[in-house]
């Protein structure tokens, strides 16, 4: 959803001068408020510091992409599996 909002923002920026004006005046947050970003993401995007609109767009793209990626789950081996392996090793050693 947020990526769609960002796509719309960047698309709009090429034909609507108010986007660039808001960015230049440090009021991009006003424009972001018109789009369907989550409140947290909107705050983060509004706080981005960039020298140009294209830099801002790419930084925003990275931020939105990271926010939309599913949380990485840590893959730990099952404790049961560990015990079974240890047991087998013991048996092999005894044999």
């Amino acid at each position: 959803m947020s990526m769609q909002a960002l796509n719309r923002l960047v698309a709009r920026s090429i034909i609507d001068p108010t986007v660039l004006q808001a960015f230049g005046a440090g009021r991009i947050g006003d424009v972001l408020g018109e789009l369907s970003f989550s409140p947290g993401l909107r705050r983060s995007l509004a706080g981005l510091q960039a020298e140009s609109w294209t830099d801002f767009a790419v930084m925003a793209y990275r931020m939105v992409q990271a926010a939309e990626e599913p949380a990485v789950r840590i893959q730990l081996p099952s404790p049961v599996e560990g015990l079974l392996q240890e047991g087998r090793t013991d048996q092999e050693q005894v044999a």
């Binding site: 960047v10 698309a11 920026s13 090429i14 034909i15 001068p17 960039a50 140009s52 294209t54 793209y61």
Partner: protein
């Protein structure tokens, strides 16, 4: 900022093409790229135009003559699909070098890979993703993309592949 990747540049180009597609309000292909050049958004009034030329050296090129609006100079005898592709490709140069384009930062962002960027932009301007999706939903296949969207066969094949990668 970290260097911009090709994927990021292509995402940005898709957004540019989408912005112009929305401005045109096209609901079905072919996209009226020549109409866009002749009747551009007010921001680009002094940057877009089309001039037919007799030339055997190139298909089309964008130039900004002194004291005159920028224009795409296009070979008069190009087949329709090649003409559309050439106009769409040169449109990116018009955007980049326009007053608004320079203010946005397009020169620094897109000039280093202009040829690749222009071809990619042109494919996405002539075949915007919503229209490609609609074409696919209606049972459209790769073989018919060129004719449906009025673009050269090799570009149409690439665009179809790009669309599948975006799914």
């Amino acid at each position: 900022m970290n260097p911009i990747t090709r994927e990021e540049r292509q995402w940005f180009l898709r957004c540019l093409a989408f912005g112009l597609y929305e401005y045109m309000g096209a609901v079905a292909p072919p996209i009226p790229v020549e109409g866009l050049l002749k009747h551009p958004p007010s921001l680009f009034q002094d940057d877009f135009g089309v001039v037919d030329m007799y030339s055997t050296l190139w298909d089309a090129t964008f130039a900004r003559p002194p004291n005159r609006p920028g224009s795409v100079f296009v070979r008069i005898d190009l087949p329709a699909d090649e003409r559309r592709m050439a106009l769409a490709r040169e449109l990116l140069s018009a955007l980049i070098t326009s007053k608004h384009g320079r203010a946005v930062g397009l020169v620094e962002f897109l000039m280093p890979d202009l040829k690749d960027s222009a071809e990619y932009f042109a494919r996405h301007l002539l075949a915007p993703e919503p229209l490609v999706e609609a074409y696919r939903r209606r049972g459209g296949e790769e073989a018919g993309v060129a004719e449906a969207f009025g673009m050269p066969e090799p570009s149409a094949r690439m665009r179809w592949k790009e669309s599948q990668a975006l799914l």
